[in-house]
Amino acid sequence: MSLLEIKGISKTYPIETTLWGKGKRLEAVKNVSLTLHEGTCLGLVGESGSGKSTLGKMILGLERPDQGEIFFQGKNLFQLAAKEQKELRQNLQVVFQDCYSSVNPRLSIGNIIAEPIKNYEKLTPAEEKKRVGELLEKVGLSPGNMDKYPHQLSGGQLQRVNIARAIALHPKLIVLDEAVSSLDVFVQAQILDLLADLKKEFQLAYLFITHDLQAVHYMADRLAVMYKGQIIEMLDDIKQLNQLEHPISRKLLSSMLPLHPRG
């Protein structure tokens, strides 16, 4: 059974409002269908504005699709009672691109990571602290960072904190919305390695939203190319990246640096 199944979802945003509320609308996502299997990574690439982040937000329940259905673990996400939905969404987490705005600057690292735990589990403060410490170690940070504040950490460290928060509830699927794009190349590689390790350890599935084909090539098992709200090409084996046919995919491909440069 597939973990996530998206059936023909669409989303439009009003770009012009008139008195009667029938202005022009922007079609952010048009009739998109996708499936994602447990423990695999689906790369979703496309230019900025192609609707890939909107798709991610709909999967996370931050936006409601106008049409279509999303099935997660076989259940329709938008037709569940609030309580059931909360249970289900525990398995669905996110890491955003901008690591700085993803954490509340007024909360300590420990409190940031503990937020999902507080929402789903009743732990004593001591147990909670232990869990947070373990999570910090999992993402390669020392538990001593617990009492620090976001402004005392670097971008790479903060993104590790965001990842720790995302894995705190042992989810099945993490949406990585450009999760490494704002970091420098060296840190990017470290974070990608960390994500790959976590994927293996927890049997995680990723929806890896990015415009960086090189990162996709490293992380993903399958690939979908989005353009103007639609999926224009699917690739079931990432190793056959050169078989992309659509002109837009070719264009994205040509922007990628060669893995083995000659001379």
Binding site: L60, G61, L62, Q90, S102, N104, P116, Y120, Y149, A168
Partner: protein
């Protein structure tokens, strides 16, 4: 972070100065019966319009009442009413502004149109009209002020909430299962409360002025209660012979309004993160 803020606050001389004035005023509010040399409402026509003496440090008014005592008791009325108006207004505005801003949609639309209508009138005239309907008196003054004021703050607070609401950490909190009210308490209130505190102190001076203004017109606090605006009104017929009668309450209003404005301004500067 809090300690940094405290250090920065104490570095501001203007803040200390204005804070000291406000503190003195509050001491006057709390200990008025102890500090005032006389009962502010005792009428003694034989000693009317006296010059300052040991017994009456600022002299007496046209009914022989001790001016200093009336000024001190007036602090209670002016500051007390202004604080009450501001606190109640802020609570209403925070509630409505946050709800409208966070929920959005129809409720937001409805509240904002109500604000549009109320904001289209000059607030003082609206307050005058309301008191005209309700009749003069302290309670109606309070009601009129709150009804007129809440729209400003509800709008501002809604704007603050809107700007915070789309931050990634709010989205991340939603994804990690934090319920709406908890998001507001944990992530939104801490951001807006410091700005609301600044607004509170910057505008309370204006409220004191409006209350005094309305009392001067005989629409607010009623005689014989000692209130600065009403005192100015009482003394206007003696303006030529005894200008000091008008000057003392005027100076009190000036001092307290200036102190609050200065306090609010410096507080805003101190809380401005961009200074780092």
């Amino acid at each position: 972070m809090l300690r940094m803020l405290m250090v920065r606050l104490f570095q501001k001389k203007a803040l200390l100065f204005s804070g000291a004035i406000i503190l003195i005023m509050f001491v006057l509010v709390l200990f008025a019966p102890v500090l005032a040399p006389h009962d502010p409402n005792i009428i003694d026509i034989e000693h009317k319009l006296q010059a300052p003496s040991w017994d009456f440090p600022l002299g007496t008014d046209h009914l022989g009442r001790c001016i200093l005592s009336r000024l001190i008791f007036g602090t209670r009325v002016s500051l007390g009413t202004a604080f009450l108006v501001m606190v109640v207004t802020m609570i209403i505005s925070i509630f409505i502004g946050t709800y409208a801003g966070y929920k959005g949609g129809r409720i937001d639309y409805l509240f904002m149109r109500i604000c549009d209508v109320l904001l289209a009138f000059p607030s003082l005239f609206l307050a005058l009209a309301l008191i005209g309907i309700l009749g003069p008196g302290p309670l109606n003054l309070f009601l009129a002020m709150v009804l007129v004021q809440w729209v400003f703050y509800a709008r501002i607070i809604r704007g603050m909430v809107l700007s915070v609401k789309e931050q990634n950490y709010i989205l991340a909190a939603k994804v990690s299962g934090t319920p709406g009210p908890m998001i507001v308490i944990r992530h939104i209130f801490p951001v807006i409360l410091s700005q609301v505190a600044v607004l509170f102190f910057m505008d309370i001076g204006g409220i004191i002025l409006t209350i005094s203004g309305l009392s001067f017109l005989g629409l607010g606090i009623q005689p014989p209660t000692a209130e600065w605006g009403a005192m100015i009104n009482d003394s206007k017929q003696f303006f030529r012979s005894h200008p000091s009668l008008m000057m003392y309450p005027g100076l009190m209003i000036l001092t307290i309004v200036m102190a609050f404005n200065l306090f609010g301004d410096t507080l805003r500067d101190a809380l401005d993160v961009r200074q780092d």
